[in-house]
């Protein structure tokens, strides 16, 4: 089984490794450059958090409003829905009307949820 696995995914794995190298190699080069020629000079002001030229006050712990979370819920549900839709879509050309209607019902169920949330005002960003 491993052979199939390797055959399919080896290019992807090598691409990923190459991509990591691609990303890290300039950082390494930059590091070498800084060691060799241009020393890094950290300092209390230089490494302080940027805040429009003022001294940073307060921690950057932003308490977000629950809207973000509501959107995330709707997103999650529709993401999962997409997981079910994808195999259906692949098989769609060979499916009967009945199966398609089954999917339509599935969709309508979710649309119902969407309409409900819409009416609840969840989809309205405040």
């Amino acid at each position: 089984m491993n052979t199939i696995f390797i055959d399919i995914y080896r290019p992807i794995a090598i691409l990923m490794i190459a991509a990591v190298c691609f990303a890290i190699s300039p950082l390494v080069m930059a590091w070498v450059w800084s060691k060799k020629f241009s020393p890094r000079k950290p300092g209390p002001v230089k490494n302080a958090t940027y805040e429009c030229g003022l001294e940073s006050k307060g921690a950057a712990l932003i308490h977000f409003k629950p809207e973000y979370y509501l959107y995330a819920i709707v997103f999650l549900i529709f993401d999962v829905e997409a997981i079910f839709l994808l195999p259906f879509a692949v098989a769609f050309s060979g499916l009967s009307v009945g199966a398609s209607i089954a999917m339509l019902i599935f969709l309508l169920l979710l649309v119902e949820g969407l309409i409900w949330t819409w009416q609840k005002g969840v989809l309205t960003w405040v």
Binding site: C52, G53, K57, G58, F64, V126
Partner: protein, 386 residues
């Protein structure tokens, strides 16, 4: 390194106590921020992305203009007025010259008045164009409208430079007239510019004024009610966008504005879109004035011959003079004690006073809106802080 001012500490503390309740974020936009027109700073308290409190912080460009002016002669203040609202130095010149003329009772020759009107309206054109450009920049339009606006501004600046010698800091007007006469061919060139300017306005309107994103970003945002506008002493296009018909060119009829036929566009909603459109419409009206002024300008002297340039000493007394600068009512208040320097020299800066209602307009808006609303106030820091 401790740099938090006591007032900041107070707000920090109050915000901290509020935070435990409602989890607010206080963030400062500026003094170094891409869209605060320089070094303005807004201390904003955010609830999510909604503004619940906004305190403008001034003084990052407080250049002591008034103090310096009180120690130099009347004439020497003239180049300093250029640097007040550095986008429109010619109207500043005019306001100052007008006030000194009031203070000393000087008459201005007719040709000079025409020149003043022409330069002031050109100034208004370039100021409004770049204001709209900057506003679009603040809406994130990658510079294109700003570039178009500055393309036109450069054409007008060429006129200014060929007349006054400098692109921005004209130092052109004098008590009782203007410094130099129009150079040869200037009027013709100006006529050409005025004739071609509507093309730019049309382009701008096609580019922007029906753009859905712009409509969505501006309509219903930053509404300023008529009542609050009057209360807060708002002037200029911002006031008129809120539905108040008050244009000092019409009210005071200073200079020779009563000779021209032009209209004052009035907004209804007082939102960002109105302020944007009022400026566009005002530019068209300015073009009308310019056409008339260029047609009617008379020959004659440009300086009142009785006025001395050096050793100018008005009688003791005081005068307040004001004009409709592109940003609003620009006033100068001078107290003379008979010496060559003004005893008190005060600028009534439209930019500063238009900011009075900034918080009221921004409450409940998002950060993005705040920046845009701030953009429509059209301030120049040199004038705000002086």
């Amino acid at each position: 390194m401790e740099m938090i001012a006591p007032e900041d500490q107070r707000t920090a503390q109050s915000a901290a106590t509020a935070k435990s309740e409602d989890a607010l974020l206080d963030i400062s936009l500026g003094p170094h921020h891409p869209s605060t027109h320089g070094v303005f700073r807004m201390d904003v308290v955010l609830d999510g992305e909604r503004v619940v409190k906004l305190k403008p912080v001034f003084g990052y460009l407080h250049r002591n203009h008034e103090k310096i002016a009180e120690s130099v002669s009347y004439l020497a203040s003239m180049p300093y007025t250029d640097r007040l609202d550095y986008m429109c130095s010619l109207t500043n010149n005019w306001a100052y010259a007008l006030t000194v003329e009031k203070l000393a009772g000087i008459q201005v020759p007719e040709r000079a008045e025409y020149i003043r009107v022409i330069t002031a309206e050109l100034t208004r054109l370039q100021n409004h164009a770049s204001t709209i450009g900057f506003l679009m920049q603040e809406m994130g339009a990658s510079g294109t409208p700003l570039m178009y606006a500055f393309r036109e501004r450069e054409i007008i600046l060429d006129l200014f430079e060929s007349l006054t010698g400098s692109r921005m800091m004209s130092n052109y007007m004098r008590f009782g007239g203007c410094r130099v006469d129009l150079p040869y061919g200037w009027l013709k060139q100006t006529e050409k510019v005025v004739a071609e300017f509507p093309r730019f306005l049309d382009e701008f309107e096609r580019l922007l004024s029906s753009n859905e994103i712009l409509l969505a970003r501006t309509q219903g945002v930053g509404v300023l009610s008529k009542k609050l506008a009057i209360q807060g002493g708002i002037t200029g296009p911002m006031l008129r966008a809120s539905g108040v018909n008050y244009d000092i060119r019409k009210v005071d009829k200073y200079g020779i504005y009563d000779r021209f036929d032009f209209r004052v566009p009035i907004g209804e909603h007082g939102d960002v879109y109105d302020r944007f459109m009022i400026r566009l419409l005002e530019m068209r009206e300015s073009l009308k004035i310019l056409t008339q002024a260029l047609r009617d300008i008379t020959a004659g002297p440009i300086m009142d011959t009785k006025t001395k340039i050096r050793g100018f000493r008005p009688k003791a007394g005081e005068a307040y003079g004001r004009i409709e600068s592109p940003k609003g009512e620009l006033g100068f208040f001078l107290i003379s004690d008979g010496s060559p320097q003004p005893y008190r020299y005060r600028v009534r800066p439209p930019s500063l006073i238009n900011l009075t209602v900034l918080e009221d307009m921004c409450l409940g808006a998002s950060v993005a809106d705040t920046v845009v609303i701030f953009g429509t106030v059209d301030i120049v820091l040199g004038e705000v802080d002086r």
